[in-house]
Symmetry: C2
Subunit: 238 residues, 2 copies
DNA sequence: GTCTATAAAGGGATAGAC
DNA sequence: GTCTATCCCTTTATAGAC
């Protein structure tokens, strides 16, 4: 078990801070946990299992994460960070709206491809507003903001009326949540059906892009804006 | 405990079948269970508690429902039946689309008004395709079909192009699911925010009703139809 | 102090008598 | 249809070993 030697120098009182090593260990715990979640499921994985496979004591594991839930919180952050990074890499490849939306959607599924079991387990918290892991609760507001931001950047170069500009990222986020739900239920090989749905949905959005600016649809737009605002479904500050 | 006398004549071998009494007892178990779910929550209610308060033995309760989940299944059916009944009563009051959609949406919240805690607990099953209580899984297909049917009847008298006619009930069902999610998180008194959201959403739909038939939007409609079909999101037979 | 083995409790579900 | 008795699994508590 070589892992336990990662911190073998921690007692030597060096002036150099050990942040790198500490972060590595934290990362090791996170990745070990994810591997176990994938292997045997979220519920059947104990923090003990994680610590054991990571070559750490139970106490050490709890030093890095206050709880099993905190590990999941770190996973959320990882997904978010990874999504922003990969999507931006995609955005640099093309200024075309279709390409950018595809990148935004597909990279998310890429990241989560192997974690459907975990996501299905985490879905349960979605119904509890007070749970720190709820995808819709106040505790994950920051994650949601970052998630919306990906779509905000995807349409950053589009010339759109200000009202459309304001609500589109949130609507795209909602669409992407719907696609994630579809993904949870998708049993096709490599989630091919979800991939197809993404492409179709993106084509639909791109097709709608020209329509929304029509004067005829102006009242509809205004109505959508006011609905979302009244329902407090838009991020507070823009 | 007067309840246990409901069947006090059970040993008299009357020719008349006792179905009525049996149904009453079943109903008693269901209503007792719901009362306890509301009082102390789904997880903290045991079948033992239900049986005790209903004045039955544990075994008797299990005679009527194979499991605690089966009780919830009966609740789903109750909600569905009640929704269809109340919505139809509303539909008889008005031929106006706005009124009918409002009736369809508001009656659903009326029925569930006191069960938000239970719904939040049941939400957890939504992520598991194989769970019999998942709102999106194959096991509840029939419930979903009936749920979509309410919206089908709401728009029954509208003169709409066939493709719009085919997909609108499903889209309205999806909208209503989104509103239910909002409802789970709504902490305003009497779920007033949800009520407002319903009214706004209905106005939006009614406003869109004239637009969808525009020739300009024909390609958009066709695209939506094919997306939903390809994704198997429409009921099979219509 | 921490770990582990074992006991106790809780609770879903079933079997068979009546 | 309803009862009692019981099974069986999971969670929680505890006691003694290390």
């Amino acid at each position: 078990m070589p892992f336990q030697y990662l911190n073998m120098f921690k007692t030597s009182r060096r002036a150099v801070p050990q942040r790198a090593t500490s972060e590595e260990t934290r990362r090791l715990v996170l990745e070990t946990a994810l591997a176990l979640f994938r292997e045997r499921g979220f519920d059947r994985t104990t923090v003990r299992d994680v610590a054991e496979r990571a070559g750490l004591s139970l106490g050490a594991a709890y030093y890095y994460f206050d709880s099993k839930e905190a590990i999941v919180g770190a996973y959320y952050e990882h997904v978010q960070h990874e999504h922003l990074t990969r999507a931006r890499a995609g955005f640099e490849q093309s200024a075309d709206l279709r390409d950018r939306l595809r990148a935004a959607m597909h990279t998310k599924i890429d990241i989560m491809q192997d974690d459907r079991g975990l996501l299905r387990a985490l879905f349960r918290y979605g119904g509890d507003p007070d749970h720190p892991l709820s995808w819709f609760g106040p505790a994950t507001r920051e994650q949601r903001r970052l998630s919306v931001q990906v779509f905000d950047e995807a349409i950053a170069d589009e010339r759109l009326p200000i009202d459309v500009r304001d609500i589109t990222p949130t609507l795209l986020w909602a669409l992407h949540m719907g696609i994630l739900l579809y993904f949870l239920y998708d049993r096709s090989p490599s989630a091919q059906r979800t991939r197809n749905l993404i492409d179709s949905a993106v084509d639909f959005v791109v097709g709608g892009r020209r329509l929304v600016t029509l004067p005829l649809l102006r009242p509809v737009r205004r109505r959508v804006v006011s609905i979302l605002r009244d329902a407090a479904l838009l991020p507070e500050s823009r």
